[in-house]
């Protein structure tokens, strides 16, 4: 079986579980056993390949463009880990089926568990560090769902989030580390990076990269100061703890450090950090663990202690240390997982986790008790359990470092190991074997005790294995070590220093176990005192601080006052433009010239009037005055257009001003009187912002008139307008031909605006049109004027191509008369009719303008190409007809539709106030 298959198996099982949810719910136990059986297969294969010394490589192209491919490989150490995951995974899967019920969503938990198992397998077999990261993150996410399984409890959710955020933070930092590593080494493949150790270790970014990787590994493996999440993660169901905290999740960090050792390890930074952090974690966990009374918390602290121990061993980094690392890792996995399962069973049975109250469960759970006994033997390091040999070599490693004397490391190790024994004993001995008054009936299923027992048996096998498979262990250690491992690995090495230390350890452990009860009350006080300043507080504080800051910042920025937004927008915009102007322009570039004083004076007078009008509008205390001021400004602009050779613009501007004035005339009576809000201080900042914005604008306009880099493209239009586009009014030709696309968009905007007005000012028939004063004279005049205006409109429209005019101006003109009628009409039927008609006009107008474009495409030329025919009609003579004209008709109709809609809608508003 290829390793790729191994990686896929748990994921496929997860998918199967997801699909077969109903089946899973009906018979969770059988289903879980079946899943477990499947999981066993690759586990056994891993062991077989490990013993046979086989290794595999696998590669499948994936995100090649990023260098992330499905690169897998197996080496003895990863095979060992794979076996660990599959074997422990299988028993946890089986156990889960009996531990959780369908009512407690065993199916959902199982999916998360299997995804987690798959991610772990993927992680250990990844050859590509980014692929490894991918699985790394998946373990964090899937464990989030496992820890938070009892999600209706607030505590559960909090602890799951804590685990996710701590490991997630580490994960992200690790990603940065991996990205750096990849860039530095020019490859993401572990098998290639290992060749580049010299380069990497001497790289200038080495320290940064190593620190990133450390943070990733330490968060995952619950090393100080990130260790707090692990005991808290006990909020999850027991199987989660058994799996996450024994062999998998928390060992992922160690796995990473181990496989990185031959690549970037061996430096002083690497070794010392690991030793120090590992040691601190070990001591802190031991001390914190001793005051616990919760079964699972005791085990959790003994787990973090073990993790610290292992990290320390990696830090030692000698041949002995790697051998010890492998052995101790195996031993720990095979006793910690059963212990967690046993803890789960205890909780299940006693509905409590307090070691002080539970007792005498051995009668109820004899099988479980046997498993517990076996596990404890291994914890204590009694030969021939795996724990014995693990500890033996660990002491060998510590006591040979740096010289063969007994040193600080050894003392720490002995102390830690002793406390670990005490912690495990505290967790299970009392609850199981302490005398109890209550008679208990046997109450356990086979799987409940079988699964942990199975694992402890494996532990026994591992302990015995060196007798036959010493070379296998050597090869495992060798894959973490740049050299061959020649050290002999034996179960019994005779009476030597490590054996003596082991005996001292067991004795100390037993003493601590027996007498800890007396010191607990005092210890709890000290512990509580320390917890106030511990890293968990830092986590809480940073979370709370972040939230407080977020709140403050959002209130400061997104405060809800539109004025503030506008002010900030203009202030920042002005600052940016001014900054850019500062560097790109100086006053010397510009020469003031007054070529025609009379004209200058005229323009100046118009300008002054406009500015005064604007000021008037600002100062006005009534709406009407403000509007008058605004209109004067608009007319002034029209006048400027006229002065500066833009008759079309001037006419349009005047018409638009008129139309807006009419609309305002409809709106004004409906609005309440104007109020003033601004205070003096606000006024001052407003003034500063607006004046600086105005100043910058003035300068930038001045600058633009003095910069002329190229001949403008409009010269071409002047040349071609008549010859190619058959129009003498160049502005109009540009609108309907050269830049027809703009006009197309422009009429669309008008159509949307009319729809918007219709939608916003939609009124029911009942409220419509009531209360408008009607002037019969105006109505009659209006009715009389309408046809005349319409004819005028058509004329203006037609001549627009050669003289001032065109679709837009014509249409506006035509509608002015209509506006007069509406202004004085109380006929709501007319309004409704107009609205219907104008919708049609809008549609047809848009359709024709688009058609004018498509005709070009259909005729085989470009979109919107002007196609012309010149029929010779009687009476009129030769006519130039072309698609631009059709386009203009479309514009004409749309604008009429727009004007009518808007006028009708505005005129149709009920007068009485609704508030």
């Amino acid at each position: 079986m290829s390793i790729a298959t191994w990686v896929w198996i748990p994921f496929i099982l997860a998918l199967v579980t997801l699909v077969a949810t109903p089946l899973m719910k009906r018979m969770p136990q059988a289903f879980s056993l079946a899943l477990a059986a499947v999981m066993l297969v690759p586990g056994i294969l891993c062991v077989q390949q490990l013993v046979a010394g086989e290794s595999q490589q696998y590669s499948l192209a994936w995100f090649e463009a990023l260098g992330i491919n499905f690169d897998l490989r197996s080496h003895p150490f990863s095979l060992f880990f794979g076996a660990l995951i599959f074997l422990i995974g299988a028993s946890v899967v089986a156990y889960t089926g009996f531990y959780l019920t369908p009512k407690k969503f065993v199916n959902r938990f199982m999916v998360a568990l299997l995804v987690f198992a798959g991610s772990m397998v993927g992680l250990v077999f990844s050859n590509n560090i980014l692929l490894m990261f991918l699985f790394w993150e998946l373990t964090s996410v899937s464990s989030y769902f496992m820890i938070g399984h009892y999600h209706e409890q607030l505590d559960s959710r909090k602890k799951a989030l804590q685990a996710l955020l701590v490991t997630g933070t580490g994960g992200l930092v690790l990603l940065a580390g991996f990205a750096l590593l990849g860039s530095m080494g020019g490859s993401y493949l572990l098998s290639e990076l290992v060749e580049k150790r010299e380069l990497l270790v001497n790289h200038e970014l080495y320290t940064a990269m190593v620190i990133c990787i450390f943070i990733g590994a330490f968060t995952k493996s619950a090393q100080f100061p990130f260790h707090f999440w692990l005991p808290n993660a006990m909020a999850g169901p027991a199987p989660a703890s058994a799996f996450l905290h024994s062999a998998t999740m928390v060992k992922a960090g160690l796995f990473l450090l181990a496989v990185m050792s031959p690549i970037i390890g061996g430096t002083a930074l690497w070794n010392q950090t690991l030793m120090v952090i590992g040691g601190i974690t070990l001591i802190i966990s031991c001390l914190s663990g001793l005051v616990q009374t919760d079964v699972k918390k005791l085990l959790a602290y003994s787990t973090t202690a073990a993790l610290g121990f292992l990290t320390m061993l990696l830090g030692i980094g000698t041949e002995e240390a790697f051998v010890a690392f492998v052995l101790f890792l195996a031993a720990h996995a095979f006793y910690k997982a059963p212990l967690f399962m046993i803890a789960g069973s205890i909780e299940h049975h006693a509905h409590s986790r307090d070691i002080r109250t539970i007792s005498g469960l051995c009668k109820a759970m004899p099988g479980t008790s046997i498993a517990a006994g076996m596990a404890l033997l291994s914890v204590a390091g009694i030969p021939p359990m795996a724990g014995f040999i693990g500890k033996e070599y660990a002491y060998k490693a510590t006591s040979f470092y740096p010289s063969s004397d007994i040193n600080l490391l050894t003392i720490v190790a002995v102390f830690g190991a002793a406390v670990m024994i005490a912690l495990s004993a505290l967790a299970v001995v009392g609850p199981l074997w302490r005398k109890s008054e209550k008679p208990e009936h046997r109450h356990e299923t086979t799987v409940q005790w079988g699964a942990p027992l199975f694992l402890t048996m494996i532990g026994l096998a591992v302990g015995l294995a060196p007798i036959w498979f010493a070379s296998t262990f050597q090869s495992m250690a060798a894959s973490l070590w740049n050299d061959d491992v020649n050290m002999a690995i034996k179960l019994w090495a005779g009476v030597n220093l490590p054996l003596v230390l082991s005996i001292i350890t067991v004795a100390t452990g037993v003493i601590i176990y027996l007498y800890i009860g007396r010191f607990r009350p005092a210890g709890e006080k000290i512990y509580a005192g320390f917890a106030k300043w511990g890293p968990e507080r830092a986590y809480d504080a940073s979370l709370a601080g972040m939230l407080a800051f977020a709140k403050w910042q959002t209130n400061a920025i997104q405060h809800g006052r539109l004025r503030g937004y506008i002010a900030a927008t203009f202030a920042s915009a002005t600052a940016l433009i001014a900054y850019k102007l500062w560097f790109s322009w100086s006053w010397q570039d510009y020469q003031v010239s007054f070529d025609n004083p009379a004209a200058e004076l005229a323009v100046a007078i118009i300008g002054v009037i406009m500015l005064l009008a604007a000021l008037f509008a600002l100062k006005a205390r009534s709406r009407l005055k403000a509007i008058v001021g605004m209109s004067i400004v608009g007319l002034g602009i029209a006048l400027l257009f006229a002065v500066f050779s833009a008759p079309d613009l001037a006419i349009t501007q005047i018409l638009v001003e008129t139309l807006v004035a009419i609309l305002l005339a409809f709106v004004l009576p409906l609005l309440p009187e104007m109020r003033r809000y601004a205070s003096k201080a606000v006024k001052r900042t407003d003034l500063a912002i607006s004046l600086s914005a105005g100043l910058v604008m003035a300068i930038i306009v001045l600058k633009s008139t003095s910069v002329n880099l190229h001949v403008p493209i409009s010269d071409f239009m002047g040349e071609q307008s008549y010859l190619m586009a058959h129009g003498k009014n160049v502005v109009n030709v540009i609108l309907v031909d050269f830049r027809a696309m703009d006009t197309f968009g422009e009429v669309t905007v008008l159509a949307i605006a009319s729809i918007g007005v219709l939608a916003l000012l939609r009124t029911t028939a009942k409220e419509a049109g009531c209360g408008h004063k009607t002037s019969i004279i105006l109505r009659v005049v209006g009715k009389f004027l309408l046809p005349i205006l319409m004819v005028l409109a058509l004329i203006v429209f037609y001549r627009g191509h050669n003289e001032p005019g065109g679709g837009f101006i014509g249409a506006l003109l035509g509608c002015c008369g209509f506006g007069l009628i509406l202004l004085n009409s109380s006929d709501s039927g007319l309004v409704a009719k107009t609205q219907r008609l104008s919708k049609l006009l809008l549609g047809v107008g848009l359709f024709l303008s688009a058609l004018a474009g498509v005709v070009g495409s259909l005729a085989g030329t470009d979109f919107f190409t002007g196609l012309w025919i010149a029929p010779n009609l009687p009476l009129i003579g030769e006519l130039h007809l072309g698609t631009p004209l059709l386009f203009d008709v479309g514009v004409f109709l749309t604008v009429i539709g727009f004007t009518c809609t808007v006028l009708a809608s505005f005129s149709n508003q009920p007068l009485e106030k609704e508030y």
Partner: protein
């Protein structure tokens, strides 16, 4: 010439911004309208100013005279004016609706974000 227009533009722009910064919805709408008109004037001015020579091809000519005004900025401004008309009419409808249906006038009391 340019200087005068630049000053007018600066003044109008300042006035529009000031009007936009008012708390009254109505004043703000005035500000938006003024701003869009000022923008039109900016585009017009930036395109170059020519007096008394509209961009028409003379009856006896086939091409635009050299000295004629640049027609392109005029076309742009025309488009902008029309778009501005659409926006303004929509804005007035929004104003009407805002004031009448939702009773909005003080812009500081809109919604919390």
């Amino acid at each position: 010439m340019d200087v005068i227009l630049a000053i007018v533009i600066g003044g109008l722009f300042a006035a529009s911004v000031y009007s936009l910064l008012q708390r009254s919805l109505f004043r703000m709408v005035i500000g938006v309208v003024l701003l869009s008109q000022t923008a039109n004037l900016i585009v017009f001015t930036a395109g170059g100013l020519t007096r008394g020579k509209a961009a028409f091809i003379a009856d006896d000519a086939t091409q635009l005279a050299e000295a004629a005004a640049d027609p392109l900025p005029q076309a742009l401004v025309l488009t902008a004016i029309v778009i501005g008309l659409g926006v303004t009419s929509f804005l007035l409808a929004l104003l009407l609706k805002g004031v009448r249906k939702a009773q909005i006038d003080d812009l500081d009391k809109l919604n919390p974000l």
